[in-house]
Amino acid sequence: MTTIQIYGAGRAGDGTNTNIAILAQALKDAGAWTFRWLDEVYSNIQTRDSGFAVRAADRPIYGPDDEFDILQAFDEGAFIDIAGEGRIPPITRLKRGGIVIYDSSPRLEAVNAGHEIDLAKIQGILEEKRARVFGLPMGRLAKEECGNYIVRGTISVGVIAHMIGIPEEAILDRFAKNFGAGSPVYEMNAKALRMGIEHARNEGWEAPELRVSFTPLAEDTRQVLLGDEAVAAGAIVAGCRVYAGYPITPASEVLEFMAEKIGQFGGALIQADSEMAAAHHVIGAAVAGARSMTATAGPGFSLMQEAISAAGITETPMVIVICTRGGPATGLPTRQGQEELNEAVFGGHGDFARIVLAASEPSQCFYVMERVFNLAERYQCPVFLLIDRMLAQSSYTVPELDPSRFVIDRGKLLTAEQVAERYLNNGHRYQRYELTEDGISYRVIPGTPGITNYYSNTNEHTEDGYITEEEVVRQRQMDKRFTKRMELIRADKDLPEAVQHGSPEARIGFIGYGGVYGPILEAVERLESQGTKAKFLEMRTLWPFPGDRVREFVDSCDVVYVTEYSAGAQLRGLVQREATGPSPKLRSLLRYDGRIMTPGWILEKMKEA
């Protein structure tokens, strides 16, 4: 695999994210498959250390490599732990012999003042890395020659473009798309870009080993999108027409995408006053007959617990996308984590049917929304989709997404004609919680002619929906909406099956879901290239848990590494509870420092596990 990885280190507010994004777009235009992630983002808007990175390769990639080839540095935070809190600076992840491009001018504006790079102070680490160091007074040039300090990053983009062989036009094309060709912002950035390119050329700054040789596509219909955007787009194609949400990292991009798009399809956006409210808006809209959903993170999902119980007993199709992050409580708001699995599977009081799915990359995020909404309406129960922060907020290149593959199945939701035929024309009385053969009752859209007793109830209820506490009725309703429903769900072919990767005959296995996908795939490749066969069971359905499938996988292995972003080994807990029991074969690879796994991290951790 040909791959290059570039890291931009600065301070929040420096525009580093924008620089890396431009490079990612240009690399993709050059034919590469990209993965761009927010490596270091504090829950803070300006002044803390920040790091953004892009990896490009000649095939689809779903995660970072261990080390990067180029480090673009705006201040000494790239090299040292300024605050002394134990932060590991990005330079430690630079490849031996890698390139450092830094701003050699002092900070010229008050925002983010200080922390200029003093080469003498960082000589040790630079030598240890055998780094090739290129200094350019970007800040001064930007301010004095281009008229705006903020474009100093664009100068470094020019330097990098020259060194790795991205043509000037490719980046100008992107500027034109982003800023509008010929606009003042475009002109300013174009000038800065050319300045960087020219400077690198004049100084003879070259990196022949890093020159990219991707093949541009004649017609490039590939998508570049965040997991959050893929989920939102998939929801719209699945027919979601009411979105309610409260801003929270890393789910806000779902809200923002919906805010821009849902109205174009006749839908409504409700920016809720809390996650508690959002979840209840979703219930209300679903009861009224609209496909509706919310997205949130762990803290918001905690606030939704009473609502999911309500959706359970009222048999309301409720869709929640849980974008997980490091917890508990506020925890690590802007960092990777998978600590919400237990809450998704066991949360909400009382026993009720539910489905918990996962996605590993944005294509899955998009396509799975068809199933999410179909399952929610087919089984009239809450359906949760778990995506983690890495997936939610990283940008991936994926093949073109095809909305025509979606099939809309609204389950037992009756049209006015069906209501007339089924009830009105033959005197048969409608009952919201009728005990049908399969236990799934019919829904109608309130307002449907002839139905004036569409009665949803969070209290235990009769078939009519009215409160009861009678033991026989209670038991029947519980069996209908929980026991029997879970049996039906378990047998449903639409539950995404676990996918096995690697060598079938391998005796070393990995199990995981979500943001472990890319790193494990590459760890398996590396093991195989070293002569060790390995395989990976990628979990797509987490509840009902596919116990048989997982047991069969574990049985076929000598050792299985359950790999997840949770100190509490929540996935392993489920594996033991639902598949294997306590098994000497199971090991845990747990990352809970808020950072994304890399293939090398996995191989290293295996030695200790």
Binding site: V242, R291, S292, E306, T452, I467
Partner: protein
């Protein structure tokens, strides 16, 4: 929309379970008025019964939808309003009426109460306000008056009570009124006006708890009603006549109309001043305080309407495929 429900409907058509309240409970009066209102909506105004949607939370008052036979959602404590918002936005063609109690809405549901008003969602909220948590046996609610003795305030409630009318006016409700359960005709009129007002409508109703609301020398059904009548309520029209000297300056009084006018641009300020003045003598005002339909509703702000209801859209692939492709083409 065509309806299969034969009109005129009778009370029997919209009567659900037999009432579960204590003998003498104010909620009986409210229920009778609500049924009369629904009959009026259907029989006189031609609203299809199918389009009436009732909600409630938890508490004695939240049994109300069970006493009816209309499309409904009976929810959790304090959470009926956010569900009502979801219903009203998904299908603005429905007449959404939310029933709750003073604990349900003004304590655990206060977040939703305030924001529902500010959003101006087209929902009519009917509160059966009795100053206590009846269903958990009588603890003081947020509207319990200072000094009220209850199992949770054995030496008498300290601190202020929530005044929902004041909050609703301040937050910009389209309709603010208060009825009393024992004057059915006035209550029917108030609720009818509220439902037909565009935007958020609050109808707070004093609906005495005959079992747990105990005043000195006023226990039981009859006496607690007398206590309300004699010691607690003050009609806004009477307050206007009796309190204008205290509330308004001489210059202001010269400009004032003879009677309290809930539709005047000054109604909000006048109402707030009279509420405060009444509170000084331990009284709570009743009647129609405010109607203001000048603000856009939440549905209008969200770009949806009865004709363009999200719940009724064609979400089939065929109808939307080109637009979906366009949306995805932007993600490159």
């Amino acid at each position: 929309m065509a309806t299969f429900t034969a009109t005129p409907i009778t009370r029997a058509d919209i009567t659900g379970e037999s009432a579960w309240w204590c003998s003498g409970c104010g909620d009986f009066g409210v229920n009778a008025a609500v049924q009369q209102v629904i009959m009026g909506l259907v029989n006189e105004l031609g609203v299809p019964l199918e389009n009436i949607f009732a909600l409630s939370g938890i508490g004695c008052s939240s049994k109300e939808p069970e006493m009816l036979r209309v499309n409904a959602y009976q929810g959790q404590h304090g959470r009926s309003l956010p569900v009502a918002i979801g219903v009203a936005i998904a299908n603005p063609g429905l007449k959404v009426i939310d029933f709750g109690g003073d604990g349900d809405t003004y304590a655990i549901g206060m977040e939703h109460f305030m924001h529902s008003i500010i959003r101006n969602v087209d929902v009519t909220l009917v509160i059966m306000n009795n100053q206590v948590y009846g269903l958990t046996k009588g603890q003081a609610s947020p509207t319990a008056h200072t000094g009220l003795r209850t199992p949770s305030t054995p030496s008498g409630k300290r601190g202020r009570n929530v005044n929902p009318l004041r909050l609703a006016i301040a937050a910009g409700a389209a309709f603010v009124g208060r009825g009393v359960s024992w004057q059915r005709n006035e209550l029917v009129e108030l609720m009818m006006k509220a439902i037909n007002t565009k935007g958020f409508s609050l109808v707070d109703v004093f609906s005495p708890c005959v079992t747990y609301h105990r005043e000195p020398n006023a226990r039981g059904s009859g006496p607690i009603y007398d206590w309300y009548r004699q010691n607690y309520v003050l009609d806004i029209k009477d307050a206007w006549q009796q309190m204008r000297d205290q509330v308004f300056t001489e210059d202001e009084r010269a400009q004032l109309p003879a009677d309290y006018d809930p539709t005047s641009p000054e109604a909000a300020l006048n109402g707030l001043r009279l509420i405060s003045e009444a509170a000084k003598i331990g009284r709570e005002v009743t009647g129609l305080l405010l109607i203001d339909e000048s603000q856009p509703t939440m549905a209008e702000n969200a770009g949806v309407s009865a004709e363009r209801a999200p719940a009724l859209l064609d979400i089939s692939l065929g109808a939307n495929l080109d637009n979906y492709r366009q949306m995805l083409a932007e993600l490159r």
